[in-house]
């Protein structure tokens, strides 16, 4: 298949899954739809999307042995099994009672199975592995699990989403529910769906996690940012994934 045909197919697949995800009453929009045409083209073209560099790096790291157990991710998991995983995370791993996001899950394998040091936040290798795993779910609709143990965490996430805070006394909901689609300075306020993470953000000039993006918003409203390890982020992500149920995973997405 030529790359042009592949791109056309990808665009068609996105369009079809958006149509599917959005019944006539569904006003939800991926951030993709609020971007300019040039950025959309950049995301759709796998040879121009800089996020693909990280996917490629993740593919290499997946097969690389690490830690004192000298095991690679590929020694336990076939990559094909990772299809759909990013569409349902955060989830509660076997034998645990609190939910983990995808990067938390990767770090759990890192410490328990590979017996290595966990990756620090926003580590390039961690983001690359996360991108490689999430890339397997590209085009899959977001499908949060029905696990009843997640409900209290999700409710906590929704409460955080609606909590006014910071010197500007804003909540996530004020911008991303009530005023989405309007302008904040020159930029369109997106609805804030988590379907492209980790995203290549042009402002960052690198791939970044949803956590980094949430911290960005908190800083913007001049609120205190919880520590990187705080459970607030996972709770918020649980609610955001529920809110974006059915939207297609776009990893690696490009955002301004």
């Amino acid at each position: 298949m030529t790359s042009r045909a592949a791109i056309a197919l990808l665009i068609a697949a996105f369009a079809a899954s958006y149509a599917l995800a959005q019944g006539s009453d569904d006003k939800r929009r991926s951030g993709y739809q609020d971007m300019g045409e040039a950025l959309q083209k950049m995301q759709d073209d796998d040879s121009a999307n800089p996020g693909m560099l990280f996917v490629q790096l993740g593919r290499q790291l997946w097969d690389k042995k690490a830690g004192s157990a000298d095991k690679a991710c590929a020694d336990c998991h076939a990559i094909a099994v990772m299809k759909g995983v990013a569409a349902r995370y955060p989830a509660i791993p076997q034998g645990a009672d609190t939910p983990l996001d995808l990067e938390g899950r990767i770090n759990l394998c890192r410490t328990e199975q590979q017996r290595g040091a966990p990756f620090p936040p926003e580590d390039q290798e961690l983001l690359a592995l996360e991108a490689w795993v999430a890339y397997q779910s590209r085009g899959e609709p977001i499908a949060p699990p029905d696990d009843p143990r997640l409900a209290p965490f999700r409710a906590q996430g929704e409460a955080l989403f609606r909590l006014r805070r910071g010197q500007l006394d804003l909540s996530c909901a004020i911008c991303h529910d009530d005023n989405a689609g309007k302008k904040l300075a020159g930029a369109t306020i997106p609805q804030g769906h988590p379907n492209g993470y980790p995203v290549y953000r042009l402002e960052w000039q690198t791939l970044g996690s949803l956590k980094r993006r949430l911290r960005n918003c908190l800083f913007g409203i001049r609120a205190e940012t919880p520590a990187w390890s705080a459970p607030d982020y996972v709770a918020l992500e649980l609610y955001l994934m529920q809110r974006a149920r059915g939207l297609p995973i776009e990893v690696p997405a490009v955002r301004p």
């Binding site: 790359s3 040879s47 121009a48 800089p50 693909m52 560099l53 990280f54 790096l57 290499q60």
Partner: protein, 106 residues
């Protein structure tokens, strides 16, 4: 570890204008930014990119600190003969990456 994405046609007609696209992972650190300790982070950029077709230079460019991280380069060339296109990036801190693609011209 070099990390490059190249988009070039595998085949071309003789005399056809073809586009070559290349994306490379590189921080393109400007040399103007202070780090968390307040000291300037030393400049680390790609300085030069050269493309050759069977050893003959077909395109080159000089990079500046104003160019974003993970630079994307696209250029056009007229396909004359089958052969190998070599893309070569060189820069600060001994950065030196070569990649090759074969193009059949018929």
């Amino acid at each position: 570890m070099s990390n490059v994405l190249i988009n070039a046609p595998k085949t071309a007609k003789s005399g056809e204008l073809i586009e070559l696209k290349a994306l490379i992972m590189h921080p393109m650190e400007t040399g103007f930014r202070p780090g968390t300790n307040g000291r300037i982070i030393p400049r680390n950029i790609i300085q030069r990119f050269v493309a050759t077709w069977n050893g003959e230079e077909i395109f080159s460019m000089a990079f500046s600190p104003a160019i974003a991280a993970n630079p994307f380069v696209s250029f056009f060339v007229v396909a004359r003969q089958s052969g190998t296109v070599e893309l070569h990036w060189t820069g600060d801190e001994g950065f030196d990456v070569k990649e090759q693609v074969a193009i059949a011209v018929g």
